[in-house]
């Protein structure tokens, strides 16, 4: 493939270098670069430039051209970098002084192109590509490019600035890497210390960082901080400590100034510092700086800082405690009774009196709390009990209930009906379910959650969050009154919500029921409540909902509910219900106009089949399920049907619950019986039809199943083929099998003719006859499943996406460009 492409390369280079041609789109150029990268990595020592002189010509002509397009120049810069990534190639470039011409912008045909951000980014990317060896570094330092890179660090284009930072970090890393210092590079000298120009390069970079941090110019400070955090996370010693020593003073100034817009970046820097050995050395003051960021909780920004610090993974414990105390302040302040109130600082008071800041503060507070709960953080100064009560109170306030005495009545009016805080609070309440200490608050918690479920004003998204919280609290530890709560309080609300005007609410209610049923599977009390409360019949009526998504969720809920029981007995008593559900679900599978409900039906059947109980009614319908699902218009339904088939195969072949168990019957007969069963179910029709389906994933899945089946048939030696004969006439897959069969027969015949085997007449004759019945093992043999599988695993655009087609595209676009101009009007 590559040799094909290489032959096209000169022509492509000509097209690209031709200023009259409009350049191919960026994606094509990027793909071309990818191909070069791949080629380069595979070349093991072979120098591409030597074999392809057109590349050097291309590069020099682009740089010299007076009419180069910025996209092409950018591409050329990146390509040059790629090609110069080994010392050998670099020498080839250097021979003609080409490399300097490429990376010295004064040498270009058009200097103005530098104004284009894509060119600048190409220039940086090119250097980054090249920086794989000492000579490259020498080239950069020797030509004073460090200065340019440092300038680009403050570029107005964010991409360029970011790339410049990366390059600088890469350079620093390279300077300190072992092969630079101990001289183990291929062509490197045996110097044990850095070359003087390199020392000056590194100090130039570091000075630039210090300078940026001390600057008054905000964007420059920001870039400096970004570079610093990148150095801290990407570089090693001694760079880090050298740099840190230099930046410590300006950094302290910045931290103490506490400018709102720098907080995020400063925290990133300090977070990076936490991950370095700097943390353990007190003279580097990492912890001190973080603590200074928090202040004493009296600055507007400290809450933001605290929220960020709480999220840090490697944060020192003391600091985390302090941050936690601060971030919980807004929550406590809004929802604490005055007598228990510590003296609240003025800043917080003021922030809480304004709607926007009040809501964002509380949300920060709540989400940090949720974050802490996820790690089951141990609160020390403040009890988890009182925190939970605060969250509960806040949620109550959001729905208009007010505590008897209130500290911040302003905050209260901001909160009424505020969906954002409600959602966040509910999430947090759910997260708090990990703490066993607050189990005694459960009554209050469920009280608040029920209020939310009942309130006519609850927004659909709030209800969804409420359901999630209810589920977490129910699941965390079943309590004695659980069933009472579910059947007396929860079910009536759910029943009403299933009649809600908004389909989103009906949908999330049904999803919640499904999750609850799954979570409490095996809890006989729950199953009984579910069946006696009439919930199941409400679920069944939801199967006829007007909204497709709701029907799909109803199917899932019904599917889960009718089988939810650990006792076969209960199932038997529910057989009427099961029959009814099955009839309705089959109706959906065969008639529903939307894909979601049909997919859900097949999935529900799959999970029934997977379950440990025998569902006789389903067995009777299996053949229609397989044929309906296999011929569905929706490819996902077909996929799910194949999954159902897979489960059916696994179950039947492992324990054979569907076959009549004949004690003493051999493994082989049981296998044959299973296959006969499959045949009766129409499983083979499904598999073969799917194998020739128009949707690739479907074919792939069917192919995998057939391969499995083939292995099994091959393993079973004395299979009675006569019992497993399939009719191959009158359907699409049969025709295909027949065609392949005939082809094979013909090939065999022609081979025998050439080999002069007698009786060839007979062979060809019988082969060319239409064969109606072929045995399963034979079919599996005829179909070249392995080849099919290999083809199917390739992505569907593998032909179109090849470098060859890419190059052909570029060439043909160039050929047709004139016609295109005429066509355009």
């Amino acid at each position: 493939m590559d040799s094909d492409c290489l032959s096209l390369l000169p022509a492509v280079c000509l097209v690209l270098a031709d200023p009259k041609q409009s350049p191919p789109d960026d994606t094509s150029l990027e793909k071309l670069l990818d191909w070069f990268k791949e080629l380069h990595s595979q070349s093991d020592g072979q120098v591409l430039l030597q074999h392809q002189p057109c590349l050097l010509e291309f590069i020099s002509s682009v740089c010299m051209s007076k009419t180069t397009d910025p996209a092409i120049l950018s591409f050329t810069l990146k390509l040059t970098g790629l090609l110069a990534a080994t010392t050998q190639e670099l020498h080839l470039f250097d021979e003609g002084g080409l490399l300097v011409n490429v990376f010295e912008r004064e040498a270009w045909g058009v200097c103005d192109l530098w104004e284009d951000a894509s060119v600048r980014s190409g220039w940086l990317q090119g250097l980054l590509n090249m920086l794989k060896h000492q000579q490259a570094l020498g080239f950069i330092c020797g030509n004073g490019l460090i200065k340019v890179i440092l300038q680009l660090q403050n570029d107005r284009s964010l991409f360029v600035a970011c790339l410049a930072n990366q390059l600088l970090v890469h350079i620093l890393n390279f300077l300190t890497s072992p092969n630079m210092t101990n001289g183990s590079d291929v062509v490197g000298s045996s110097e044990s210390s850095l070359r003087p120009d390199w020392v000056s390069a590194s100090s130039e970079i570091m000075n630039a960082v210090v300078e940026a941090l001390s600057s008054e110019d905000h964007p420059q400070v920001l870039q400096g901080l970004r570079l610093l955090s990148l150095v801290l996370s990407k570089c090693g010693e001694p760079i880090i400590s050298t740099l840190w020593k230099d930046v410590l003073v300006p950094l302290e100034v910045l931290v103490n100034r506490g400018s709102e817009s720098l907080i995020q970046t400063l925290i990133t820097v300090l977070e990076a510092a936490l991950g370095t050995p700097l943390l353990s050395q007190s003279e580097y003051k990492v912890e001190e700086l973080l603590e200074a960021m928090l202040g004493d909780g009296n600055r507007k920004e400290c809450f933001h800082c605290a929220a960020l610090i709480v999220k840090l993974e490697k944060c020192p414990e003391v600091l985390k405690r302090k941050a936690t105390d601060i971030i919980l302040l807004p929550l406590q302040c809004v929802s604490t009774q005055p007598q228990a109130e510590k003296e609240i600082n003025v800043v917080l008071k003021e922030q809480l009196s304004q709607k926007a800041s009040c809501i964002s503060l509380l949300m920060q507070s709540l989400s940090s709390l949720a974050q802490l709960a996820h790690t089951k953080y141990l609160f020390e100064d403040i009890s988890i009990h009182s925190i939970t009560s605060s969250v509960l109170l806040l949620l109550r306030m959001c729905s208009g209930h007010c505590p008897t005495s209130l500290l911040h009545s302003n905050a209260f009016t901001h909160l009424i009906g505020c969906c954002k805080v409600q959602r966040c609070g509910l999430d947090t309440l759910g997260a708090l379910s990990v703490y066993e200490e607050i189990l005694d608050l459960r009554k209050d918690i469920f009280g608040v959650l029920l209020d939310y479920l009942q309130s006519p004003d609850s927004h659909a998204t709030v209800l969804k969050k409420t359901f999630q919280a209810v589920k977490r609290w129910i699941v965390c530890s079943p309590f004695p009154d659980l069933l009472q709560f579910i059947s007396h309080d929860l079910f009536p609300v759910l029943e009403k919500r299933m009649c809600d005007l908004r389909w989103e609410v009906r949908d999330s209610t049904l999803e919640f029921i499904t999750q609850l049923t799954t979570a409490l599977n095996g809890n006989s009390g729950f199953t009984e409540a579910l069946h006696t409360s009439g919930m199941v019949s409400v679920l069944l009526s939801s199967l006829a909902d007007a909204e497709g998504y709701v029907r799909a969720s109803a199917v899932a809920a019904v599917g889960e509910a009718v089988t939810a029981s650990s006792h076969q007995m209960v199932l038997v008593s529910n057989s009427k219900l099961l029959d009814e559900a099955l009839v309705q679900m089959m109706a959906i599978l065969s008639q529903d106009t939307e894909g979601f409900p049909r997919r859900a039906v097949v999935q529900a059947f799959t999970s029934w089949l997977k379950g440990s109980h025998l569902i006789t009614a389903l067995e009777l319908s299996l053949s229609s399920v397989l044929s309906l699902g296999g011929s569905d218009f929706d490819w996902e339904v077909k996929m799910h049907t194949l999954e159902l088939a897979e489960v059916l195969m696994e179950k039947t072949l492992t324990c054979c619950p569907y076959a009549v168990q004949n004690f003493g019957s051999s493994e082989e007969t049981r296998f044959t019986q299973a296959l006969i069963k499959f045949k009766n179910f129409g499983l083979f029709d499904l598999l073969f039809n799917s194998l020739f389906d128009c949707d690739r994933p479907v074919c792939e899945k069917a192919c995998a199943l057939l391969v499995k089946l083939r292995t099994l048939t091959a393993e079973t030696a004395d299979l009675d083929n006569s019992l497993l004969v399939l009719n191959v006439c009158g359907n699409r897959w049969g025709d295909e099998v027949q065609r392949r069969y005939l082809n094979k027969q013909q090939a065999k015949a022609s081979v025998s003719v050439t080999n002069g085997v007698t009786g060839s007449d007979e062979g060809t004759d019988c082969g060319l006859h239409c064969t109606k019945d072929i045995s399963l093992p034979k079919i599996l043999q005829i179909l070249d499943l392995d080849d099919m599988q290999r083809m199917l695993t390739l992505s569907s655009d593998h032909v179109v996406n090849s470098p060859r087609s890419l190059m052909e595209d570029i060439l043909s676009a160039a050929q047709h460009s004139e016609e295109n101009i005429v066509d355009c009007y």
């Binding site: 208009g400 007010c402 209130l406 009545s409 209260f412 009016t413 009424i416 309130s455 006519p456 004003d457 609850s458 029943e495 009403k496 919500r497 009649c499 809600d500 005007l501 908004r502 389909w503 409400v538 009526s541 006829a544 909902d545 007007a546 909204e547």
Partner: protein
């Protein structure tokens, strides 16, 4: 300008505004909550109700919120905002000597008539054997049981009016259209769309220089009526604000959802739903919502029954008032399609309407079903029958959607009740949040509102968001208050006769402003003022001066020129200096400056609107100084 408040009920207002010698009544709502003190009036004899112990009355009673604050016969005009706020009209216009005009829009008149006729029918079809009034005596009332004992103003409770009275009252209505300017004496009244119900309006009452806005039941929600017109309410001197939502904590959308889900739950379980409601208004929106919901909830075959003596007219009227509907309903008319989907419900037999429960209804009635019928108080109307019929089964549900009555009180005589009760009050009128936004936009100088709006609801004293907080604070009124409205009339428009105008000699005092003196006779009649030339033989001094700028009466000139302008201190001092007066001591005062010319011992007081030269017996010096002062002033 005075406001007499005859009703303290915030949503059933009845106020009288005296403005520029006109007496304008703003709405005459009828508070029927007193009916809750009485037993239901069953169409068929109910053994249960008649056996109830205690006081039995056969009075169908209504409560008119009125006191003898003023003579009703002096009312010149009554402005009606919506059909709910006109139910007391016959009490005002009949037998009181009322000779004025009633202004209302056409839908208000027609639907108001329907509601009044329905009320009369409900009352009259259950004839009363006797009318009792003795119990109203304080001594007897004190002996009565339960809440009746504590009822106040029982003497103001009146018997229901008759059809004749309704007809006579409505014959005094003059129809108006939105934004139509109606001149009434010295004031102009204009109805504006208020968005609450078909034909509902707010009113603007204005003279040349004053503007009073009257905001009654208004809504900003997109329901069936034309949207609320807000911009014309701007720049009001006084805004009288009534008719806000009665249930500020219930959001209409949430309640509608609640209504639908409870209805679906009941029907699915095989029960019936009873919706006690008025025959017009929210019922149109309920039917429209159910029209979509029933199919999606898979309950398409459940019948709706609408039972009222005026059911048919109400449904039909709603379809013909196209120009009073919201834009998307109006555009349907041009397709042509009926604007409300209940036409389709009727066509497909899903909605059936009957004048009463006897007749066709009894033969076609099929369960489970949804019944819409009146009256929301559950004291009269066909709803009484359904309460008796369905009350015993827990499968059935009664859903209250009208916020006018306490549902627990309404249900009291039917207890014990097995049927489920759901309270989903749907009140689309402005809530406090919307009203504070509205007031921020239209910026009235003063707001007058019922007292309850100035404090949080008594049941939720902490909800400071459920009250009006304005700067300056609103003026609150309660029943029987008489408020002097807090603004002074400062200008009046006066006409000049042409011959007088011709004689004027304007002189420009600054660019665009010219001033002239006028001597004329002012004639005022019917709130109109005319300046006429002075009759020749009487050479009287000018009777009226229009003061627009400061003037200083000179003493010597004849005819006296009017002076204008101000004497600037520094140039004046310079001028004095130039004229040889050098020793001047300047003292600053509250109104200006006092200049003490020390050598001459003269005081010159320079004030904003006067200048005094005080010098003893030195007339030449005074004249000289006066002339210096005059150099800085303009003469007319």
């Amino acid at each position: 300008m005075k406001l007499y408040c005859l009703s303290g009920h915030p949503t059933l207002p009845c106020n009288v505004l005296k403005f520029k010698s006109t007496t304008i009544m703003l709405d005459c709502g009828l508070d029927t909550t007193a009916a809750l003190y009485f037993l239901p009036l069953p169409l068929v004899h109910s053994p249960r109700l008649s056996k109830l112990p205690g006081w039995v009355s056969k009075d169908g009673a209504v409560n008119l919120e009125k006191k003898e604050l003023l003579d009703l016969s002096t009312i010149d005009v009554i402005l009606i905002s919506n059909y709910h706020c006109m139910m007391a009209l016959p009490y005002i216009t009949e037998h009181t000597g009322f000779t004025g005009t009633v202004y209302a829009t056409e839908p208000t008149l027609q639907i108001g008539r329907l509601l009044m006729e329905e009320l009369v029918t409900f009352m009259e079809r259950v004839p009363k054997a006797q009318a009792a009034t003795c119990w109203k005596n304080k001594e007897i009332q004190r002996l009565l049981p339960g809440p009746l004992k504590d009822a106040v103003d029982v003497w103001s409770w009146r018997k229901c009016y008759s059809v004749q009275e309704v007809n006579s009252a409505l014959s005094k209505v003059q129809l108006v259209g939105y934004s139509q300017k109606e001149l009434f004496g010295a004031v102009q009244v204009t109805p504006l769309s208020s968005g609450y119900s078909l034909g509902s309006s707010n009113w603007i009452i204005q003279s040349h220089y004053e503007k009073v806005s009257y905001v009654s039941g208004s809504s900003l929600l997109t329901t069936h009526p034309q949207p609320m017109e807000q911009s014309s309410l701007k720049n009001s001197d006084v805004l009288i604000l009534t008719g806000l939502t009665q249930i500020p904590t219930a959001n209409p959308d949430g309640m509608l959802g609640e209504f639908c889900s409870n209805l679906a739950m009941t029907i699915r379980a095989g029960g019936n739903v009873l919706v006690p409601c008025y025959s017009s208004g929210v019922i149109y929106d309920l039917l429209e919502c159910l029209y979509q919901f029933m199919d999606s909830a898979n309950l398409g075959s459940t019948p709706f029954y609408f039972i009222s003596p005026v059911a048919n007219s109400s449904l039909e009227f709603s379809q013909i008032f196209a120009e009073w509907l919201c834009q998307n309903k109006q555009s349907k008319v041009y397709l042509p399609e009926p604007p409300f989907p209940h036409a389709e419900l009727i066509q497909t037999n899903k909605l059936k309407h009957y004048p009463s429960i006897h007749g066709d209804f009894s033969s076609e009635f099929r369960q489970p079903c949804v019944v819409f019928t009146g009256h929301p108080s559950l004291r009269f109307g066909d709803v009484v029958h359904f309460m008796e019929l369905w009350g015993k089964s827990s499968l059935n549900t009664i859903i209250f959607t009208e916020p006018d009555f306490s549902y627990l009180d309404a249900l009291a005589p039917y207890q014990p009740l097995a049927m489920k009760c759901v309270y989903c009050p749907i009140d689309t009128r402005l809530n406090f949040h919307q009203v504070s936004k509205l007031l921020k936009d239209i910026q009235p100088l003063h707001v007058v509102c019922p007292e309850p709006y100035t404090q949080p609801p008594p049941a939720q004293p902490h909800r400071s968001d459920l009250m009006l907080e304005l700067q300056p604070p609103p003026m609150a009124y309660r029943r029987c208050s008489v408020l002097g409205l807090p603004f002074r009339r400062r200008y009046e428009r006066i006409h000049l006769l042409p011959e007088l105008a011709r004689s004027l000699v304007p002189s420009e005092i600054k660019a665009g402003v010219s001033v002239a003196t006028v001597s004329a006779v002012l004639q005022s009649k019917d709130n109109k003022h005319v300046l006429q030339p002075v009759p020749k033989p009487a050479p009287v001094p000018p009777s009226k001066k229009r003061k627009r700028v400061t003037e200083e009466p000179p003493e010597v000139l004849n005819p006296k020129p009017l002076l204008s302008g101000a004497v600037p201190l520094e140039p004046f001092l310079a001028m004095l200096h130039k004229n040889g007066i050098t020793e001047v001591k300047v003292e600053e005062t509250a109104d200006g400056h006092i200049l003490h010319l020390q050598t001459e011992d003269v005081l010159i007081q320079l004030e904003e609107d006067a200048t005094h030269i005080i010098c003893d017996n030195n007339e030449p010096l005074r004249t000289a100084l006066r002339d210096l002062v005059l150099r800085f002033l303009q003469k007319l």
